[in-house]
Subunit: 185 residues, 2 copies
DNA sequence: TAACCCATGTAACCTGTTACATGATTAA
DNA sequence: TTAATCATGTAACAGGTTACATGGGTTA
């Protein structure tokens, strides 16, 4: 009854698989994973160096990746990780599990629910600023799609499309709020 | 240089203000805050009992709420919290700060980015299931709006509208994905 | 000469969840 | 009699961020 450590834990966090997924696309280092994440999936899920290195150690202890220590002369030594067969299975199993709703923790909505401490004009100003943010973020997603290389996986574009859709919807909602608050009560 | 504890910390988490906001609308207990949160703001931000009680202690140490210990005969004793003038100021200041984007951590998108480990037909099935979830969640938000009492604050309705908009947009995105994956590549 | 890239890691900390403990009253 | 409501709290843990430490090579 002392399994304790890693072998049989209930459910690994998403971050673990985000990292494993990067290793799956070819041998890499923690440092490189961070860069690739930042360029791609980090729009929806990001991780710090500390965490990436910790996840790699966990993945290794689970037997999902294998490490090779590469000594370099002109640069710092590095640990190159490669996915194992067990890792590939685990990754596939995880992706094959039901896909859940994104949970949102929306600070702006908490503020809106408390907004009666402010005059309506100020609330409107805040929502207008928020709409700007949403629109800029939407544009950012659109540019990322436009900049996508032709050979990039089709799922990358679809994922970015979700960003576009979400930001556009939020911007439209802002307009709705502004209109309603501006109209005579 | 040993301020250390509470007085001068940089930025309090949203949860703190979600709790403070509940106290602001009238003297309450931790237990009651949980119930009110669950009925309202919890759609966008929820907290466990443990955390609510911890936040109340923090708010008290900050001087934002005052506690009165009420001894009851037939029920457990309770601590009734009331917001202070300093608390009201802090709450207003927080709401008056710029309203930021909701950050999303979207597990389904991480899975989509790794979806090439599955056959397209399975991906489609997952996205169809996800669309169902989004549509049910959207309906749930709509019902909450319909069930809103007439005297409820106008901001409550607008907040729930954001839920409707977001879920509808996500469902539409699912359809887009399904169509694209179904079409001959 | 300064800043940046490569590359890894530790330690401290904060946020938040889960499990556990207690216990009387009331409604099904 | 079972479950729910009221009511608070502790302890352990998991996930995650930030700050710090190290250090050579390259580019501006």
């Amino acid at each position: 009854m002392t399994t304790q450590h890693a072998t049989e834990r209930g459910r690994l966090p998403v971050t673990t698989f985000a990292v494993l997924g990067q290793v799956a696309s070819g041998p890499t280092t923690g440092y490189d994973i961070k860069a690739r994440l930042e360029a791609g999936a980090a729009q929806f899920w990001h991780a710090s160096y500390s965490q990436i290195y910790a996840e790699l150690r966990r993945l290794e202890s689970l037997g999902f990746v294998a490490q090779e220590h590469v000594v370099q002369a002109d640069r710092p030594n590095k640990r190159v990780y490669t996915i194992t067969a067990a890792g590939q299975d685990a990754l596939r199993d995880w992706v094959a599990e039901p896909w859940g709703l994104a949970q949102l923790r929306d600070e702006a909505l908490v503020k809106l629910l408390l907004a009666d401490v402010l005059p309506a004009s100020e609330v409107i100003a805040h929502v207008e600023a928020l709409r700007d943010l949403h629109e800029r973020r939407r544009d950012d997603f659109e540019h990322r799609i436009a900049d996508l290389p032709d050979d990039s996986p089709r799922y990358a574009r679809l994922a970015l499309r979700k960003g576009v859709c979400a930001q556009a919807a939020f911007a439209a909602w802002c307009t709705e709020v502004i209109d309603e608050l501006s109209a005579p009560q």
